[in-house]
Each structure stands twice: as structure tokens, then as C-alpha cells.
């Protein structure tokens, strides 16, 4: 069964601003799905429709098999959310926040254990108004985890967290996925997405321009891999030899080495050809197309 | 101890044994830091490590309990105004912006610095020219960040202090921010850049400093940090079939610290010069190499190694 399914989702604000232009999205149950796109591409609008914060102009959405508008309350009973642009209640303590979610969902859970899990066990008795941005983010995550939800919707969860905090969030996402939960995860920090997501969707100007695994996106981007070879001495002969290797599309000389664009499979051939010709390879490394480059290739020119 | 007079323009930031305590809490403990003029310096550390306190001291928002801070060759405390005239700042936290338009915000900074920049050119550069006439209170987080960057760029400052500049920016915005940092560095400005997003730091910084619990635990280039932390890279060699005894042969190579199989691949942890040997040994064993991938220790691993995180 699909955890999230949208059909031809359109959203127009105030008659003339088109936020979503026909989104067909399908997220499998148990999947960790990364939702990417530039600011203003429609990520938040999509999430807001899933939660019935806003209503689609056209099209429909189902979450956990239920209609996002008609069955919104049942959906939210089984969903944990870390919304974007939220605000905590400054005058309530951390424990009261978590207890409020427990009361709202009518489940049993230990607020202190949840605060411990997100790394702020000491903050239970303090009012959230005095929390740092990172602590507020952790508190909101603890609230999302209440009651072992079937679906977690995390909108920019690592905003304001230091690298250790971002790593903890990733660990929690992985734990939740292992438990069987579906995680729908939006982020601007592509390395975070790459580290946890099974598949990603890229949104651009209200349209879903790509949905695939990151590997799949790399292949579709089709640049092949880049090989960086450090040589004891770079000669024109070395460049000629490399250019002669089948599958090599480009060779450039830079800082005592060569940067070679190769298709998969011929990297060894490049190294062997150089060594066979008597060149001393002091070091080499491979570089894959970065997720940032893939992101740019799909979203460039969107503003 | 009177500080030795320093030639102007050589050292952008010079902290000597700076300690700062708030009440009984030590925020900074004997920090010595020198940032050369023209350098792009990344300033890293977990939340609460003292990064903001350090920046506050540079800008005289906080006074050191002990030690001395010099910025652009001037004393951070006694020559604050002169320091600020030549420094552009993108602060980490700022209050809500008022009803003034984006352009008025930039004009205000231009007047304050007595500069003659064109506000529209600046807003064009940071990518918010289309919103120049709208009240800044209605800007999104990313637009606010771009506006604040524009204000920091006014009057071509000699030193740019950017505290978490990519917060709230999408990947396109983060890339533009990096491009601007490069342009400013090319112009000769020093850029002091704090961030939690290590990939951004790696992409722009000449050197980084890592602060942990008020102490500067490392200052080096990222390559230098990699070497010093002794973290080796990893290479994965994908084969048609894995011959018997290959793992033992690879492990015997000088500079290889570990070897294991993963499906059709051999994963070897090794130092850079040993990589070629690994490929040769593999081929000699009679296997056909289908693919090779190498990876270096990630900056996150380095960060964790220095700060004792997760």
C-alpha cells in the first residue's frame, strides 16, 4: 500500500499564484523519501495539503490510504509531524509539550524517555521560550515521535542543528524506518538527504521533475564518473595515452595530475594504460556526480 | 603585556589567549587564533562551543575576561568604531525586520558606513532585486538572509564575518553565497565564516578552526586535518568474481589497514600511495576489475573525531 499518493494536485493561491501544477507523487509504505526543491518550488504547499492545512484547487491526495481532506483527523492520529515554520509555546515546559501530544493522540508514552531520545533530557522542566533553536527543533521532533506513528513528515528537520545534532536526527530516522515507519523528509542539505533516503523527488516551480533513487538520478544525469590521477610527472604523452583509452570523453591537466571523464568500467583501463607506458601513478581518486550537481541540473532556471 | 605593533593588512584577526566567562560558566578558554589577511577561514564547532562568543568579542558585543583581540590590526575594544567601518557582518540572530523595504535597509547601511554603493546593484548581486520595494518584514527566511548578506557587503569591507550564512537557503542559494564569498576573497577581503553545514565549509574555506567546549582543538586546512586525524580513505574495487586468497594478499600490502568483501566488491581501507598497488594485486590474482570508487574521510567524520561527537 502507498503511504502517500497524490493525483494531479494543483494549488493556486489568490487566483493567480500557481504553487503546484499537477503533482503525482507515490511514496511506498516503509520508505524513507527525500523531498527536494528550491525555495518556493511547492514543497511546503504539498506537505500542507497532506496535513489538510491547505486545500488543493484540483486533484486529490491520500495518506495511509485515507483521503487527506475527509479523513484528516484519522491521518494525523497515525502521523508524526515536524512542521516547517512552526513555533513552540514559549510558556510551556518541554514535558508539557510532549504530554500535550500524548493527550491529543490519546496514547501512553513517557515524555522523559522521548526527551532523552532526542538528546534534551535536562530540558523537561524548562519553559520552551528559553530554548535554543536546536533545542526547539529537538523538542518538536520528540513530539513527532509520540505514539510510534506509521508516517513521519519531517520538514527541514536538521535546520539549526550542529553536525552532531544532524547525525542524531539521521540515526532516529533510520531507527524509525527500521521499525517500519514511512519517513517523508524535506531538506535543503543534500548530504543529509543522500545519507538517509531510499528515494528522492525533486520539485521545481510546482512540478515534480524527477523521482528516483539517488543512484538512479546519477545514472540519468549521465555524466559518468570522474577519475583524478596524480602522476610523478605529467607529459603530453600521458595525456595522449589517456585520450586513447576507449570510453574516455575528456582529459584536462591540472596541478600535476589529470582529471579524466570516463564511463563506468574503463577507470582501470586508464590506470593500466598509464602504468604500462611507464608513468608513475602516485595517487588516484574517483569522484561521482555530486547530489548538488544533480539538483542543479534539474532545478536551474527555476527562478 | 603590550601587544607588539602589527603591520596593518597582514593579519585580519588575532586572538591572544582569550578567555571569557559568563557568571561561573567558561565560554572560551585561552583561545589563540590568527586569521591571515585575504584568507577564507571556516569556524566550526558544536552548538555552545563558543563560536558566537568569539564573534561577539571580535565585534565588541562581549568583552573578554582575559586576553586580547585584535581585528585588522586594531584593538577590538578600544577601536571598535574603526573596526566596524571596515568590517561587514552577517549576524546569526537578528530581530524581526521592520516595515522598511529591502532597499531602505541597504540604504540605511550605506549611509551608516558613509559609502557610495548602489543599493540596487547590491540587491541584484545577492539575488533579491525583485523584492527591493517590498517591506522586509514580509521576506522569507532565505530572502532575509540574502538581504543581510547584501548589507554586509556594503562599502567593500576588508573583513567579512558571516555567522551561519547558509541557514535557510536552498542549494541554489547556498551556491550563490559561496560564489559571493569567492568573489570577495578574490577582491582581497578576509572572510570569517561559521557554519554547521560542513560541505559548504569545505567548498570555500582555505583553513578551518574547530572549537569545542571553549577551546580551539584544531586549526588547519581540511587536507591537513585529514592527515592529522589519521583517517584513511576507503576504496571499493568491483570485480567479476573474487579470487581465493585475494583478501589476504591485499591485507599484506604496505599501507592497507583493512580489507573485506562486500558482494562483488573488495573494500580496502588504505593510504593514498597504496591504492595503485591494490588494483595491481587484484589484477594479478586474475580478476577483471569492473569499477573502482574511492572515498575520503568525510568532514563530518573529522568533525566528530575532534569534538568527540557521536
Amino acid at each position: 500500500m502507498a503511504a502517500i499518493e497524490t493525483n494531479g494536485l494543483h494549488k493556486r493561491y489568490g487566483g493567480d499564484i500557481l504553487a503546484l501544477d499537477g503533482i503525482d507523487l507515490h511514496v511506498e509504505e516503509g520508505e524513507v523519501f527525500g523531498f527536494l526543491g528550491p525555495n518556493g518550488a511547492g514543497k511546503s504547499t504539498t506537505i500542507n495539503i497532506l496535513l489538510d492545512f491547505v486545500r488543493p484547487t484540483e486533484g486529490s491526495a491520500t495518506v495511509l490510504g485515507m483521503d487527506a481532506q475527509a479523513d484528516s483527523q484519522s491521518i494525523r492520529q497515525r502521523t508524526g509531524v515536524l512542521p516547517e515554520g512552526y513555533q513552540v509555546y514559549d510558556r510551556l515546559t518541554g514535558r508539557q509539550h510532549v504530554q500535550f501530544v500524548i493527550d491529543s493522540k490519546d496514547v501512553t508514552a513517557d515524555p522523559d524517555a522521548l526527551l532523552e531520545r532526542v538528546g534534551i533530557p535536562e530540558a523537561g522542566d524548562r519553559t520552551a521560550g528559553g530554548y535554543s533553536k536546536g533545542m526547539k527543533q529537538r523538542l518538536t521532533l520528540a513530539m513527532a515521535l509520540v505514539g510510534q506513528p506509521d508516517l513521519l513528515i519531517l520538514d527541514e528537520p536538521s535546520t539549526g542543528l550542529d553536525p552532531a545534532g544532524a547525525r542524531e536526527i539521521r540515526e532516529i530516522v533510520t531507527e524509525e524506518a527500521d521499525r517500519g515507519a514511512t519517513v517523508f523528509f524535506s531538506s535543503h542539505i543534500l548530504e543529509q538527504v543522500e545519507a538517509v533516503c531510499d528515494r528522492v523527488g525533486i520539485l521545481r516551480a510546482g512540478e515534480l521533475v524527477a523521482v528516483d533513487s539517488i543512484e538512479g538520478l546519477r545514472e540519468a544525469a549521465g555524466d559518468g564518473a570522474t577519475l583524478r590521477v596524480e602522476l610523478a610527472t605529467v607529459t603530453d604523452n600521458a595525456i595522449e595515452i589517456v585520450e586513447g583509452v576507449p570510453g574516455v570523453t575528456d582529459v584536462t591537466q591540472r596541478d600535476g595530475g589529470l582529471t579524466v571523464s570516463v564511463g563506468d568500467g574503463s577507470k582501470t583501463a586508464v590506470l593500466s594504460a598509464l602504468e604500462d607506458a611507464g608513468h608513475e601513478v602516485t595517487d588516484f581518486r574517483t569522484e561521482e556526480t555530486s547530489l548538488e550537481e544533480i539538483f542543479m541540473s534539474y532545478t536551474e532556471g527555476s527562478r | 603585556m603590550p601587544a607588539a605593533p602589527e603591520p596593518r593588512g597582514m593579519v585580519a584577526i588575532d586572538l591572544t589567549d582569550v578567555t571569557k566567562t559568563y557568571g561561573g560558566v567558561t565560554a572560551l578558554q585561552g583561545v589563540d587564533l590568527t586569521v591571515e589577511s585575504g584568507e577564507v577561514f571556516g569556524f566550526l564547532g558544536p552548538n555552545g562551543a563558543g563560536k558566537s562568543t568569539t564573534i561577539d568579542i571580535l565585534l565588541d558585543h562581549a568583552r573578554p575576561t582575559a586576553g586580547q583581540a585584535r581585528v585588522l590590526g586594531m584593538d577590538a575594544q578600544s577601536e571598535t568604531v574603526a573596526v566596524r567601518e571596515r568590517t561587514g557582518v552577517l549576524p546569526e540572530r537578528f530581530g524581526p525586520l521592520g516595515e522598511m523595504t529591502g532597499r531602505q535597509h541597504v540604504e540605511f547601511t550605506i549611509e551608516a558606513k558613509d559609502a557610495n554603493d548602489d543599493p540596487d546593484a547590491i540587491m541584484e548581486r545577492t539575488g533579491i532585486a525583485h523584492a527591493a520595494d517590498r517591506p522586509a518584514s514580509g521576506y522569507s527566511k532565505g530572502m532575509t538572509q540574502r538581504l543581510m548578506l547584501g548589507m554586509a557587503l556594503v562599502d567593500d569591507p576588508d573583513l567579512l564575518i558571516l555567522d551561519e550564512p547558509t541557514t535557510g537557503l536552498d542549494p541554489n542559494g547556498a551556491r550563490q553565497m559561496r560564489e559571493i564569498v569567492h568573489e570577495e576573497a578574490d577582491r582581497g577581503a578576509t572572510v570569517f565564516f561559521s557554519s554547521h553545514i560542513l560541505e559548504q565549509v569545505e567548498a570555500v574555506c582555505d583553513r578551518v578552526g574547530i572549537l569545542d567546549q571553549g577551546t580551539l582543538v584544531a586549526v588547519d586546512s581540511i587536507d591537513g586535518l585529514r592527515e592529522a586525524a589519521g583517517t584513511t580513505g576507503e576504496m571499493a574495487v568491483t570485480l567479476d568474481a573474487i579470487p581465493e586468497g585475494l583478501i589476504a594478499d591485499i591485507e599484506a600490502i604496505d599501507g592497507v589497514s583493512s580489507a573485506r568483501t562486500d558482494g562483488d566488491s573488495v573494500i580496502a581501507g588504505c593510504e593514498n600511495p597504496a591504492k595503485g598497488e591494490v588494483v595491481r594485486v587484484t589484477q594479478q590474482a586474475g580478476a577483471t576489475v569492473e569499477n573502482i570508487e574511492t572515498s575520503e574521510a568525510s568532514l563530518e567524520d573529522l568533525f566528530a573525531a575532534y569534538t568527540g561527537g557521536a
Partner: protein
């Protein structure tokens, strides 16, 4: 359940508001002072007879202003403020319907305002009763019950207005505007209505239906309704010849019921359709 969870959170939140504590202490002190003045300076204040019912009316006369102003202070942001700051996203990420949220807000903030109001009235009544040596359970019970209804009604009006918008500045304009028109300036409005109905001139004698118009403000309806619940003779609100179906103090309760339901219903209608 859902409504109660929202109400409980809201109540906890409000309990930490310094403004509320300040106003509450002020109101309790005022009630004690009024009771003391009623009991000790009866003749100086021109009061004919010192009775427990009289004390109840005297205390009630002070509530109108306290409840209306405090209700606006503590509730004008109830929905608009949460929408503006984004905390509504936390509320509505949980399994609450928008109706639960609205009703929970009314309950939570009503409890918040009811506590100091009832404590203040009870303290004043107790002090007055001790000083006068006379204790009237029914009159004071009527006062407390009516005050509770008045508190819930006022909170409901303000929450309803707050639900019309996502901006706190607009919510404050709406609620303050309501207060100005329906409480502060209603006398003038009432005159204006008569002037209009009489062909742009004032009649020599006010028509009977002015009584109806005058009961429209919640605080007027509260005072009128209180007389319906009070034991003993109902003081004549109108001229004895005046006979109309609405010439009864029970009208106050009807009008309060209108205010309790209608603004909240309109607010709910708008809020349920809004994109937040």
C-alpha cells in the same frame, strides 16, 4: 477528548501569563474594596438598603468592564496569534479537527478568566457578608452562575473574531472595534437607530423597542439576565404599561446565548475554510 486536550494546554499556557496574574490580583483587590465600601459606607454612597442582593448587584456592576477587557487581552490572539507565529501547525499536526481547536480555545481561555473572576466575586461576597452579618446563598449563587456564563460568552465572541483572520494586528482591530461599538459607544448607536427609524429625527418619547436595542451589548444582557435569576422582586426595568413579549429579564439570557453561539459559528465557518 481532543477539545479537552487543547483546553488543558491552553489553560497551562495562560497560567504563566504575567498580564493575567496582574489583572486578576487587581480584580480581586477591587472586589474586596467594593464589598468593604458597600458594607461600611452604605449611606455615604446613597444606597437605601443594605441587603445581600444589593451587594450582589453592586459587585456585578464592576464585572462588565473587567471581563470584557481581560477577555480581549487573553483571547484576541487565540487563533490569529497561533496562525501568525506558526504554532497552529503543531496543534493541527495532531489529531484535532479545527472545531476541536476552536472549542478547546474557548474552554481553556474561559477557565483562565473564570478562575480570577469567580475568586474575586466570592472573596468580595464573603467579605461583604461577614461585615453585614447577612449571607444570601441564592443571590450569590445566581451571581456566580451568571458571571460564569458571561465569561464564557465573552471569550467565545473574542475567539470567534480571532478565528476570522491570520494576523494579530487585524484581530486586535476586530476585537477592539467590537468593544468600542458594542460596549463603549452603544448608547450613541442606540440613539442613532431610533433617529433613523423615526425618519431622521428624535421622537419626544423613546419607543418601547429601545429596551430591546439597549440589551444588545453582552454586558447589558448580563445585568438584565442577572435580575431574572435573582430571588425576590424583579426591579421594574421598564414602565409598567409596557407590555411586549421581550419585556422580561429573561431576554438577557437569550441575548447572551446569541453572543455565545453566533460569532463563534461565523469564526468557525471562516477558519474551517482557511489555508493556514
Amino acid at each position: 477528548m481532543s477539545t479537552l486536550a487543547v483546553a488543558k494546554k491552553d489553560f497551562q499556557d495562560a497560567l504563566r501569563s504575567r498580564a493575567l496574574w496582574g489583572l486578576s490580583v487587581l480584580f480581586i483587590l477591587l472586589s474586596l474594596f467594593i464589598a468593604y465600601a458597600f458594607a461600611e459606607f452604605t449611606t455615604e454612597m446613597g444606597i437605601e438598603e443594605q441587603t445581600a442582593e444589593g451587594l450582589a448587584y453592586f459587585l456585578a456592576s464592576q464585572i462588565g468592564l473587567f471581563v470584557s477587557v481581560t477577555a480581549i487581552v487573553i483571547a484576541y490572539k487565540a487563533i490569529a496569534g497561533e496562525r501568525e507565529s506558526g504554532s497552529i501547525k503543531i496543534l493541527l499536526s495532531l489529531p484535532h479537527t479545527r472545531r476541536d481547536v476552536l472549542l478547546g480555545k474557548v474552554l481553556g481561555r474561559s477557565a483562565t478568566l473564570a478562575v480570577p473572576t469567580l475568586i474575586g466575586l466570592a472573596a468580595g461576597a464573603a467579605l461583604g457578608s461577614v461585615l453585614m452579618g447577612e449571607f444570601a446563598v441564592v443571590a450569590l449563587g445566581a451571581l456566580l452562575a451568571m458571571s460564569l456564563l458571561f465569561v464564557v460568552t465573552y471569550i467565545s465572541i473574542v475567539v470567534g473574531l480571532s478565528a476570522l483572520t491570520g494576523s494579530t494586528s487585524r484581530a486586535s482591530m476586530l476585537t477592539i472595534g467590537y468593544f468600542l461599538v458594542f460596549e463603549f459607544l452603544w448608547g450613541a448607536v442606540s440613539f442613532g437607530v431610533v433617529w433613523l427609524m423615526n425618519g431622521f429625527s428624535l421622537p419626544s418619547e423613546m419607543p418601547n423597542w429601545v429596551f430591546l436595542v439597549n440589551q444588545v451589548p453582552p454586558s447589558a444582557a448580563f445585568t438584565t439576565g442577572l435580575t431574572a435569576l435573582m430571588p425576590g422582586d424583579i426591579p421594574a426595568a421598564t414602565d409598567p404599561d409596557f407590555q411586549a413579549f421581550y419585556a422580561t429579564p429573561w431576554l438577557g439570557l437569550v441575548i447572551l446565548a446569541f453572543w455565545l453561539v453566533v460569532p463563534l459559528a461565523i469564526g468557525y465557518w471562516r477558519f474551517s475554510k482557511a489555508d493556514i
